[in-house]
């Protein structure tokens, strides 16, 4: 019996025990029974860090279900917003095998609803204070607006988290997600956003490696003229691995996506970025851009980058590019010729590389400082 089959049988046994969340778990369990769990060799998307690294038996413990703390700044939930912890929600299915594990182990779902037309001024904080499995659903009504700051705490054992976001027509959401507390355990997360007509979703994502960490992000631009931007900073240091796997699906006409992703790998860190853009036949007039720049600070580190562009229609504007390089020798020499020592010069240039993906909103929340401290700049 292979390791993943062993994990699967223990998972099925564990998750089948009667629980208040039976109804919630049932569909995912049925899917797991039908499809099983894939082997790492079979999945191109898990080429660098095998999917089996996330089949962790410490997910199968009684305290695995760990709902995040979700509250607004100031502690009061503003009018037009409801936050519910439920076992009854019909959760949108995710076909990702790790999401099936998630759905079969959670004991509740946290659902945030924002009423149509509502502009929420307070920031919604989502704090994943402990490891384990959880699921959050955010539903933004038509023309509503909100901002979310989501933090993932230090990983002391395996974690598996899913957040599903839907934006109705003309809704706008700013989402800042940080997953940079270094950990020694495997962490997997899926963020799946679905956008209606004219909806706008801006994600600032900052993450560093673990042993290992994988972040799957899927944005479906369903509605006409829906628009998304992703600004991301990814760090792989020590002996950590980080896989960031982004898929932007353009389904609606005149949809727009922008991605700016900067990666830094140092020590024995292993960084993988896969940025996939798919322009479906229905998405004429779409405009997609992906810029991925990577900085390899030491030859012992590794960077794998793979931008993918799949276009099934004419009349689109797409561009994508990825670079991997060391610090610029000319810039280093210029700084040193002014008396700045090599260590300080390298640090200045690395900070400069990072600063280009730290948005103003993220800067205010100390993201830049936190990332600099991970890199000991």
């Amino acid at each position: 019996m292979t390791a993943n089959n062993d994990f699967l049988s223990r998972l099925l046994e564990y998750a089948s025990a009667p629980s208040a969340a039976d109804a919630l778990r049932a569909p995912a369990l049925a899917e797991l029974r039908r499809h099983g769990l894939p082997d790492s060799k079979k999945i191109e998307a898990f080429k660098y860090t095998p999917i089996t690294a996330y089949y962790r038996s410490d997910l199968l413990t009684s305290d695995t279900a760990a709902a995040p703390r979700i509250e607004f700044a100031g502690g009061r939930t503003p009018a037009g917003v409801t936050i519910t912890q439920t076992t009854a929600a019909a959760i949108p299915a995710e076909s990702h095998p790790l999401a099936r594990i998630n759905a079969s182990l959670i004991d509740s779902v946290t659902v945030v609803d924002v009423a149509a037309g509502r502009t929420v001024k307070e920031t919604l904080h989502i704090d994943h204070a402990s490891s384990g499995c959880n699921r959050v659903i955010v539903r933004m009504g038509g023309k509503s607006r909100m901002q979310i700051v989501e933090r993932h705490a230090r990983v002391d054992r395996a974690s598996n988290r899913v957040i599903q976001i839907s934006l109705a027509a003309d809704a706008r959401l700013y989402h800042q997600r940080t997953e940079y507390e270094p950990g020694e355990q495997s962490a997997w997360g899926l963020l799946h956003a679905t956008l209606g007509d004219g909806a706008v979703y801006d994600l600032d994502h900052y993450l560093c490696g673990s042993k290992p960490r994988r972040a799957d992000i899927v944005v479906d631009l369903r509605g006409r003229a829906a628009s998304t931007s992703l600004t991301a900073g990814i760090i792989a240091s020590q002996a950590h691995a980080i896989d960031s796997y982004v898929t932007i699906n353009h389904f609606g006409r005149d949809t727009r996506s922008r991605q700016l992703v900067h990666g830094i790998a140092t020590d024995k860190g292993q960084l993988t970025f896969n940025g996939r853009i798919e322009i479906h036949p229905s998405a004429g007039g779409s405009d997609a851009q992906l810029t991925n720049r990577n900085l390899l600070l030491m030859p012992t580190a590794r960077i794998n980058t793979k931008p993918e562009l799949e276009i099934h229609t004419r009349d689109v504007a797409c561009s994508h590019g990825a670079t991997v390089g060391a610090l610029d020798a000319g810039q280093l020499f210029y700084l040193r010729s002014r008396g700045i020592d090599e260590h300080a010069a390298r640090s200045l240039l690395t900070r400069a590389f990072l600063s280009r993906i730290v948005t103003e909103a993220a800067m205010q929340l100390g993201v830049e400082t936190a990332m600099q401290s991970i890199l000991e700049l």
Partner: protein, 252 residues
């Protein structure tokens, strides 16, 4: 007796295995400005990079002293701490590092190296504003990335700003006049003339006489095929302007 601030003795250097400097000797006493002229490919910029310690420029023989201390073999930053400054022919753009941060880091590094008290942020700002104003540089530019999107003239003025802020003992200006219009040339020349001081030495590397109308050198040297082939007073530069380099380089 005049003290030589810069002493270059029989310097030989190669780039990618090709000898470029072939026994160059040149000394500049304190207080003097010397011009180094010569045709393209004579080794002028190679000398500048060799002095500053750029990777890939290999010294095969000779010695260089700044204020009596050996320069070669030191890291680029240590050469700067010793009192050497190179104004680059092509200043480097560094997006994401502001001019302000860059200048402050450089100045602090010099203070640390010399064991002197660094300037407070307020003193630093006051000084950088005043020097920038003299060079007709808008203080807005201090917030921009180092040389990022600067015009050719702005880049050269930024080199002079750094020169005046860092106050080295020996300044080597590599074709600081190239790409400047006449107004920018006047501003840059005024900056270099301000730098002139009995305790400092300057080497102006230039291709044209034009700069020397504004900064009158004490001595002019002609470099050809990696060696100084003629030295003279400011009159030599004017002679080169009318006769070209052929009469010197052919003789060599």
């Amino acid at each position: 007796m005049t003290k030589n601030l810069l002493e270059i003795e029989d310097l030989h250097a190669s780039v990618a295995g090709t000898p470029i400097l072939k026994g160059l000797s040149l000394s500049i006493p304190a207080g003097e400005v010397h011009a180094l002229m010569g045709p393209n490919g004579s080794g002028k910029s190679t000398l500048a990079y060799v002095l500053a310690g750029r990777e890939g420029y290999e010294v095969t023989a000779g010695r260089v002293r700044i204020g009596g201390a050996d320069l070669l073999g030191l890291a680029p930053e240590s050469r700067a701490h010793l009192g050497l400054f190179l104004a680059f022919q092509y200043p480097i753009e560094i997006p994401g590092v502001s001019n302000m941060e860059f200048l402050k880091s450089a100045l602090d590094a010099h203070h640390r190296a010399s064991g002197t008290e660094p300037l407070s942020t307020i003193e630093f700002m006051k000084r950088v504003r005043s020097v920038a104003a003299d060079l007709a540089l808008n203080t807005e530019f201090l917030k921009r990335g180092v040389n990022e999107g600067f015009s050719g003239g702005e880049k050269k003025r930024n080199e002079i700003l750094q020169l005046l802020m860092l106050e080295p003992k020996v300044a080597v200006l590599d074709e600081t006049d190239s790409g400047l219009d006449i107004d920018a040339l006047k501003v840059v020349s005024a900056g270099v003339n301000r730098f002139r001081d009995p305790g400092r030495a300057t080497l102006l590397i230039t291709h044209y006489q034009r700069l020397l109308d504004h900064i009158v050198p004490d001595r002019v040297h002609v470099l050809s095929d990696g060696m100084i082939v003629r030295s003279g007073d400011a009159g030599l530069a004017r002679e080169l302007e009318s006769r070209g380099y052929g009469w010197l380089t052919d003789a060599a």
